[in-house]
Symmetry: C2
Subunit: 320 residues, 2 copies
């Protein structure tokens, strides 16, 4: 599919892409470029690339495709460093969780002959680093591309084919719209999870130890999300500030209304609110984006009427 591919940044996402590209033989030559020499040594040791270098400009030399899999906050520096050395007609893509900021950061440094196709795979785990990657990470997941109106269709098609080969489904979106949708589906949930786990870390020691012990009752689901890479998430909130603050404002208003209902003992309001949210889960299951059985970290979750054949896991998020 490509002659030479260079991946810059070999963390969870970069190293998973490397494994997938190797496995599917999508590149004649696959190069890792990472400023951290330890990471370069690690990916060579893991055997997921053909070459690795800590010199980005050298790593991208003659590459047809350059994949930036670095935190969003590092995109501008990388763009500045590699811009002058990009091969004419090369395609540059990225994997950042924020898209408008990536477009703004990269565009000034890319020669006119280079094609920018920003991308965002909706995939990940709470683990980070090159050793956490695996080729199947993108199987059956969405990859969102946010090309600009002037982007060459051929370049978009090539990045589409890349993600499809890695097992993903493709959605094309405007960058700003991407940032709003992900602000709600991903950034706000992570912010909330970080907050609630942070609140628990400040409890008195005796209460804290019991919170850990009984974490299966809901809290534990949040701790997994709140174990995600701090650098990546710092950058998400810094670079998607406007959308995040907007959805956070709506969330806070709704939380305040529930708080008031609790204080006043308004059971009707609570019941009404808790009933409406049930329906959303059904819609997600109907969309095939969740199912009855694939349950978070939790006790036997059986579809109504069907007791599970296997022993349930420990813990549950709906146990009161």
């Amino acid at each position: 599919m490509f002659k030479k591919v260079t991946i810059i940044g070999l963390g969870l996402i970069g190293s998973s892409m490397a494994r997938g590209i190797k496995e599917k033989e999508l590149a004649e030559q696959l190069v890792a470029a990472d400023r951290d020499q330890n990471v370069c040594d690690k990916v060579m040791e893991l055997g997921v690339v053909d070459e690795a270098t800590a010199n980005l400009a050298e790593g991208i030399k003659d590459s047809d495709l350059i994949i930036l899999a670095v935190p969003v906050g590092a995109i501008e520096d990388v763009g500045k460093e590699i811009g002058p050395f990009l091969k004419p007609d090369a395609i540059v893509t990225d994997t950042g969780s924020v898209k408008q900021a990536v477009v703004d950061a990269l565009q000034p440094f890319l020669p006119e002959s280079v094609h920018l196709v920003p991308g965002h795979p909706i995939a990940g785990t709470e683990f980070s680093g090159p050793e956490s990657g695996f080729a199947e990470l993108f199987h059956g997941r969405w990859a969102i591309l946010t090309p600009l109106p002037e982007t060459s269709i051929k370049a978009v098609e090539k990045i589409t084919a890349l993600w499809q080969a890695l097992g993903s489904n493709i959605e094309i979106m405007d960058p700003k719209h991407h940032d709003l949708v992900l602000g709600i589906t991903s950034h706000l949930p992570h912010l909330i999870a970080y907050t609630i786990v942070g609140t628990a870390t400040e409890l008195e020691d005796d209460v804290k130890s019991e919170v850990l012990k009984f974490s299966a009752s809901g809290f534990r689901d949040f701790t997994r999300i709140a174990a995600s890479d701090p650098t990546m998430w710092r950058d998400v909130f810094l670079y998607n500030r406007v959308a995040v603050l907007d959805v956070l404002q709506r969330f806070t208003e709704d939380l305040t209304a529930l708080q008031k209902a609790i204080r006043r003992g308004d059971g009707d309001y609570l019941y009404k609110t808790f009933s409406e949210t049930r329906d959303i889960r059904k819609q997600i299951i109907d969309l095939g984006q969740a199912d009855y059985a694939a349950a978070p970290d939790m006790a036997g979750v059986a579809p109504a009427g069907t007791p599970p054949a296997v022993a349930p896991h420990k813990g549950s998020a709906s146990s009161g």
Copy 2:
């Protein structure tokens, strides 16, 4: 273990206990008492009890053990109704998610000769109703008992043996302390999940449909929690108001501090906060209350260095 056991309220928890008691042969006679005749018919049809009646006073006649598995808000009415008909030396227990309120609601109606041992199994799913129950629900889970200082030790031992027979581990706690710990580990997470899913239901239709489509990026984990039984959860917040408002206040302060850091672009504060929460997850894993593999509704979660042998599930909560 018991001659006659009556379970009042045959929802997820009550019907799961019924199945477990039958399976382990813990009662010579097992009776279901539920004001809803449809529920009575259903549990007879499911064959999980020996008898079922919509008349509570009749159902508890001569029972050695009465298990109240009704929403916390219904406890007082049930206590009033059954109090005069309880057999001397009978044991009354419950499964409510709030404990001090249950003690306060029941005590006035129980004869002195009856032993109250309030209990709370930390187990559940987001499904409700008698057909959702299964005997394994309590396997390897905690059951918290909150007896009063004057409660007979023998009665506490019998309820301990009951839960152990159902597969649970036992923890004894003061009722007020229970309400604080569960306020943090369970009630606050549920309130937050209900809120965030509620916020999404109010979005414009086009954004909302995309939120559902890309829900795997974090939002989906919250929708499962927010699909829990609305009556049960309304009562939790009404009857654990003081503890919930207290922990909610701490949460709101922490969220406001993060919001301010985002607005001011204070990356150091964000990084520091997001790093500290990582450690909590490790502690929970060390405690055996979560593991690397049992992951919420998500993409292949592999311990660092060990790519999973099986294909990962769809979706991830840490994908940005």
